[in-house]
């Protein structure tokens, strides 16, 4: 009786291990499948356009929709974050050995190194990424992509390429805009709340300034823009089903692009600053 019970327990453990292994293996295969399909899509996306003039017009159209349309949210967030960093830094720099102009340095470096390129990209991944995934996903389920293919048009190139180019071109502009507004927001709110003087803040933001940090931020902005445009586009392009699946593709696009942005933030920081 005991022997039978032991055999059953061993059998259950074996089965459990096999199931776990199967699950992990399945997830890995799915990951490889998605990687492969993503790169094939990107190859199709960056193939020669049918008519350059139409693609050029589409890039400007996308810059207007995706880029100019994001100026407002970027401005609001940057001003308030700059102000918050100023007040928080002033509140924490209580050591008399730390000069008060260090507040300006903290705002400048926080905005340039991390907030403007990375956090703004995460916000844009939510705003632009979901818009791209849902637009392309809806086109897929309503057979508009099939209609393009029937006409002999490379649908991946026509739909995705202008969006990626627009994001990669315009994202650095948004990042510079964010840096400027963040530092200005810190300055205005610093003066209004009286935590820092005009002179100290100006000294702080100019003290030991490294122009390379801006270059580093712009490189990051370009890479992140490619991620938050292409990953949701991939999920939208391969949507199957109905409106529910469009929503799922949109969520997946935002989640995966956000995770990739964070991973590449770490990789690029190590490569460019270390």
């Amino acid at each position: 009786m005991i022997q039978t019970s032991n055999k059953l327990t061993n059998y259950k453990i074996d089965l459990f291990i096999i199931l776990i292994f199967n699950q992990i293996f399945g997830q890995f295969m799915k990951l490889f499948f998605n990687f492969g399909r993503y790169f094939i899509l990107m190859k199709r996306t960056f193939s020669k356009p049918e008519k350059v003039s139409i693609y050029r017009a589409r890039v400007f159209e996308e810059i207007d929709i995706l880029g100019i349309g994001s100026l407002g949210i970027v401005a609001i967030i940057s001003v308030f974050i700059g102000a918050v960093i100023t007040i928080q830094s002033a509140f924490n720099f209580i050591n008399p050995l730390v000069p008060i102009y260090a507040v300006g340095c903290a705002v400048r470096d926080s905005m340039i190194l991390e907030f403007s390129p990375a956090i703004i990209s995460l916000i844009l991944a939510g705003k632009i990424g979901s818009s791209i995934a849902s637009e392309i996903g809806t086109m897929r389920i309503t057979e508009q992509i099939d209609a393009l293919e029937i006409m002999g048009i490379n649908s991946a190139s026509y739909l995705i390429q202008p969006k990626i180019i627009a994001c990669v071109i315009f994202s650095p502009v948004l990042v510079i805009f964010s840096m400027f507004l963040g530092i200005m927001g810190g300055y205005v709110f610093g003066l209004l709340t009286g935590v820092v003087t005009n002179y100290e803040y100006i000294i702080g933001i100019t003290y030991n300034f490294r122009p390379y940090n801006v270059v580093y931020a712009l490189i990051k902005a370009g890479v992140f823009a490619f991620i938050f445009a292409s990953v949701p586009a991939y999920h939208g392009y391969y949507t199957k089903g109905g409106s529910l699946e469009v929503g799922k593709s949109s969520t997946k696009g935002v989640v995966y692009s956000s995770v990739l942005i964070l991973a590449f933030d770490l990789i690029l920081t190590q490569l460019l600053l270390a």
């Binding site: 049918e50 008519k51 086109m139 309503t142 057979e143 099939d146 209609a147 293919e149 006409m151 002999g152």
Partner: protein, 220 residues
């Protein structure tokens, strides 16, 4: 015409014919050119000769009626703006759609969407026209109008038209050569008059499914 019950494989067949689905075996020939044996450029050349009318119209949401019809002309011709507009207006008039140039697809009725889709398909003067259930979601009167339009355009432009439907009225109205699909296979093939007299059990079940058709059989 390709007819058959829902889920019999009609749409899958037409998608294979136009190259939207990959085939496991066999050939799809366009004037002796095997579509699946061609490279990307060859396939693209054939696709430029194909017009397709999708079930839902598949009009581009972000473009107006006129822009939808002009779109294939902009992509594949070097016509001037006014020439493209003239051609679009001609096609829209041909499908009896006037004063709708500046409307968006969301502002159109089902029948109007189908007309715009037909206008877009004929704008580049295709050699082959594929229609996937052109009457789905339309009232009987509009269905007849769309059927007649497809028939007129086929004869006027001397194009080969393949229509998928499960509407027997369409079959009788515009059917020429009919193929019956059953459970994913070709089950029967013949003319319009032959299908009404066919003794094939599955074909009879399909053709005489409605009371109206049963009464018609009794009269025949």
């Amino acid at each position: 015409m390709i007819i058959g019950e829902s889920g019999s494989g009609k749409t899958a067949l037409i998608r294979c014919m136009v190259g939207l689905n990959e085939i496991d075996s066999g050939e799809v020939l366009f004037d002796d050119r095997n579509f699946y044996g061609l490279d990307f450029t060859g396939k693209k050349a054939i696709r430029k000769e194909i017009g397709m009318l999708f079930q839902g119209g598949a009009l581009f949401d972000s473009k107006t009626v006129e822009e939808n019809v002009v779109f294939p002309l902009s992509m594949f011709t070097d016509l001037s703006v006014s020439e493209k507009r003239d051609r679009a207006n001609f096609c829209l008039q041909r499908v009896n759609l006037v004063n709708a140039n500046n409307l968006f697809p969301s502002e159109l009725s089902g029948g109007m969407k189908k007309r715009v889709a037909i206008a877009r398909a004929i704008a580049v003067q295709p050699k082959y026209l594929f229609c996937d259930e052109p009457n789905s979601g339309l009232d009987p009167k509009t269905s007849i109008v769309i059927d007649s339009l497809i028939k007129e355009i086929t004869e006027e432009y001397a194009i080969t038209t393949v229509v998928i439907t499960h509407d027997m009225n369409s079959v009788i109205e515009i059917g020429d050569h009919i193929m019956f699909i059953y459970k994913g296979s070709k089950w029967w093939e013949g003319g319009k008059d032959e299908i009404l007299k066919s003794d094939n059990e599955e074909v009879q079940d399909f053709v005489y499914a409605t009371k109206f058709m049963k009464d018609l059989r009794t009269k025949l």
